[in-house]
């Protein structure tokens, strides 16, 4: 290895900076998760609806988002919004862009959950005198969200991994901090290695917890 010795101790002085980066990453992720979940649900319902316009809008939305890179979407919002006269913080742009971006996979997942609800449930709730709205919120949604829970969590893990791209719009989230620290300390190898491991641990933790919750909430249909 060319006589190179790994030195992680040098990086300890930057731990405060890293912590700030982690906080910012969490802010981005939580914000965009909420947006992407509700937007995904809306899109899924639109896709299932009888209205042709709603189905068309949802399909185009999802296809465009899935077939263009997140980086370009991010730039589009970051540099484009000021042209429309909308001046917002980079953080807000990141949250919105990431939320919109992962609404597409969430839509697919929730939709397949919705489709898995058998017609018998609709008939049963009609027989109980539920209105259409009640049927949806009390019967269909709880079942389909349970079915969609596991793929949703894997979408959220993907979202967290994708959030590292937000470094591209000058956000000092964990990746941005890593870049700065690597320039200051001249220890890029160690830093990116740590980052790799941290992300891996995080992903494992989430999928472990998700599996445990999934076992708890599943019901026999």
């Amino acid at each position: 290895m060319g006589g190179y010795t790994l030195n992680f101790r040098v990086l300890l002085q930057y731990s405060g900076l890293f912590l700030q980066g982690v906080v910012l990453t969490i802010k981005i992720c939580v914000g965009s998760m909420i947006i992407s979940f509700f937007l995904g649900m809306l899109l899924a319902v639109m896709r299932q609806s009888k209205s042709r316009v709603a189905r068309f809008v949802s399909t185009v939305w999802v296809e465009v988002l899935r077939n263009t890179p997140f980086l370009i979407q991010l730039f589009f919002f970051y540099y484009g919004l000021p042209q429309l006269g909308i001046y917002v913080d980079a953080l807000v742009v990141a949250i919105i862009a990431l939320g919109i971006n992962s609404s597409a996979p969430n839509c697919e997942v929730i939709r397949s959950g919705l489709m898995a609800v058998k017609t018998g449930y609709y008939e049963a709730s009609a027989a109980l005198g539920f209105s259409k709205f009640q049927t949806f919120t009390r019967v269909v949604l709880p079942i389909s969200l349970r079915l969609a829970f596991k793929p949703l969590t894997s979408n959220f893990v993907n979202l967290v991994l994708t959030s590292s791209v937000c470094y591209g719009i000058t956000l000092m989230e964990i990746m941005g901090v890593a870049k700065t620290v690597s320039a200051r300390s001249n220890r890029p190898f160690e830093i990116y290695l740590i980052l790799l491991v941290v992300y891996c641990i995080f992903t494992y933790l989430v999928s472990f917890v998700a599996k445990a919750i999934d076992r708890k909430i599943q019901i026999k249909l």
């Binding site: 060319g2 589009f76 429309l84 006269g85 791209v165 990116y192 790799l196």
Partner: protein, 223 residues
């Protein structure tokens, strides 16, 4: 509302468009090369994953898991900015292709593994009963079905890798996104330029996505 200032659109010259199209070539070059290499490595890793020996079939996970569970951008930076301090120096292009290929390989291996595993065990037994050896069973029974499950998923993976290839622009490689950034900065028309760039990515990947869906219906089957 600068978007409706149509006179400004004259700032976008034909030479800028040529630059973007040329950069699209770089994107295609990086993507195709790393997809080819990644598929090959992924196939090997996936087949090792299917081995009977419980230790051997875990070995590829050592490579695959970190690649699948961390952001591509971290991997790119580790290879391009990190490895030189260990004494491994490479050009941006090499680093990009290397990282993207390994990344593709990790995801492809999972697809190979899962599509081979989804062929029921009984078919192996049937093969043995017919007096086939292991290689014959793989070749004549398993592979033919597994590949039909694999191809549509592989195309979906290829599309997502094409999107991911936009991240190589962080290595100061002149790919489609980087060219888009530069032209957008120069002409100050971000809406138009990023719209065009997104459109080009879309043109590349949407037909493929449709094709994958068609194949899934055409050659896919349920066991």
């Amino acid at each position: 509302m600068q978007v409706f200032d149509f006179a400004a659109y004259a700032r976008f010259k034909w030479s800028d468009m040529r630059m973007i199209l040329k950069a699209m070539g770089v994107t295609l070059h990086v993507t195709l090369l790393s997809l080819a290499i990644g598929t090959l490595i992924g196939l090997i890793l996936g087949l090792i994953r299917c081995a009977k020996n419980p230790i051997v079939n875990k070995l590829p996970l050592i490579v695959m898991e970190p690649l699948r569970n961390s952001p591509l951008i971290v991997q790119l930076f580790l290879v391009f900015f990190g490895l030189p301090s260990v004494g491994i120096r490479m050009k941006a292009m090499q680093a990009a292709v290397l990282t993207l290929s390994l990344n593709t390989a990790a995801f492809f291996a999972v697809l190979v593994h899962s599509s081979i595993k989804s062929i029921p065990e009984a078919q192996w037994e049937a093969g043995y009963a017919l007096g086939f050896n292991k290689f014959q069973i793989y070749w004549k029974i398993i592979a033919r079905q597994a590949i039909r499950l694999l191809i549509p998923q592989a195309i979906t993976l290829y599309i997502s890798q094409l999107q991911c290839s936009s991240l190589v622009s962080f290595l100061s490689l002149m790919d489609l996104s980087k060219a888009g950034q530069q032209v957008a900065q120069k002409t100050m028309l971000p809406f138009l330029i990023f719209g065009i760039v997104a459109g080009l990515y879309f043109v590349l990947s949407f037909p493929l996505a449709r094709f994958a869906k068609y194949l899934e219906k055409r050659i896919g089957f349920t066991i």
